[in-house]
Symmetry: C2
Subunit: 245 residues, 2 copies
């Protein structure tokens, strides 16, 4: 499992395609992930054409990975397929609700991670685009996603053309709780975030953005309350539009 332990996000790819059989094989093997009631509540839209990458790009804030990767995969929660099957079998499907969205999104994300592990083990590099849920309606329209589907994660994938440093991670004591959740004291938080706050790269972020500390870079620049609230509204509306709320 060295590929998991050495994993890093790859954002630059060689100008070299991924053979279709190899991609399909990885997408199939990934389906061994746990799935609710063995329903496999996901679909993957494979984007290879320059035209479709161009259309998707703005919904990912024009991050260069979208146009730079040979393949862009949009992983969608999907209760449409299962519901359509129920309909032709005269079965009364009841999956147009929030719990069903959560179930399908969970299936999808376990599948995504399994795919990434297999792809990285095969020498490919991946980048997870969290932007997928920021402006979901744009992606829904571009990829023609029907009701009871929802885009959850986008992975750009290709042969690595960079070898970045591995990013830091919190000490495991930060997120493991014995028997019940033990809330954090200010002192514990100082320890947990000490390493991250002292990193030269992060100290530079603070300076460049004119902030007092790293936390303010997150709250004032990267992930602001205002943006989060606007995008929350957009996502709830998209869930309604797709029939999940």
């Amino acid at each position: 499992m060295t590929s998991i332990i050495n994993r890093k996000t790859i954002r630059k790819y060689k100008n070299e395609d991924i053979p279709i059989e190899q991609l399909e094989s990885l997408l199939f093997k990934a389906s061994r992930a746990a799935t609710m009631g063995n329903m496999q509540l996901y679909s993957v839209v494979v984007t290879r054409s320059a035209e479709m990458k161009e259309k998707l790009s703005p919904f990912h804030f024009n991050q260069p990975m979208v146009k730079g990767a040979p393949v862009v995969l949009t992983f969608c929660a999907d209760f449409n397929r299962f519901t359509k099957w129920c309909e032709i079998r005269n079965a009364n499907a009841g999956y147009d609700n929030f719990l069903s969205f959560i179930n399908a999104a969970s299936d999808t994300l376990l599948y995504v991670q399994n795919f990434c592990t297999l792809a990285e083990e095969a020498g490919l590099g991946t980048c997870y685009l969290g932007t997928t849920v920021y402006q979901p309606m744009g992606i829904i329209e571009t990829l023609k996603l029907p009701k009871l589907t929802f885009p959850i994660a986008t992975i750009t994938v290709g042969w690595p053309d960079e070898d970045p440093e591995q990013p830091d991670r919190l000490p495991y004591q930060a997120y493991i709780h014995e028997e019940t959740y033990h809330d954090y004291t200010p002192n514990q938080l100082d320890i947990i975030y000490y390493f991250k706050e002292q990193l030269e790269e992060n100290m530079n972020f603070v300076k460049v953005n004119g902030k007092e500390n790293l936390a303010q870079v997150f709250t004032d620049c990267r992930y602001t309350k205002k943006d989060n609230e606007a995008m929350s509204q957009g996502m709830l509306e998209a869930l309604k539009h797709q029939g999940f709320l």
Copy 2:
């Protein structure tokens, strides 16, 4: 990656503990999964005591894995830790909203799947309990989960004491779409679900439940509209209670 390809859910475990160092090592290595802005928006509550397993059990419909496994792991979306850190740094955290819940839940599920892969590679068996989001308030109270945390997935883990058959999976054509989503015709659905419908085990389910076909077993017995709607309501209320909605 044979452990991914040969993976199956393990529900029966040997009466043998998992050394704490081994568990912590797996939980740490799993943190290499992609995470939004490197925030690691998750926590894990480790249940080993018989008393806590007893308390958790009803919220998982008393499935025997909860009391039968040496370790039960409840993986929680967690914006509490990050928000508390922002507060002591005089940064204006804005993560009490739906998008932030989705971001944290996504981080959590990628991490869960990475953990399962590593655990299985180490010879452990795992079972994913989808019940975690069915009655979240019970789990929240039992594990004392504070605001801006939410239980997303429970994994029971232990040394396998069974070797079940691997379950079926859909053909990959069922869930891979080229360039845009291509909705399913009745004929395609017949093909996609043919293998599953013909399985002896599934034909038995249909007979035992007095149904016409497998789809009706799902809609009328296993995952009913009525249950899904009631549990959707419960989950939305729990999200409000935890400050995410």
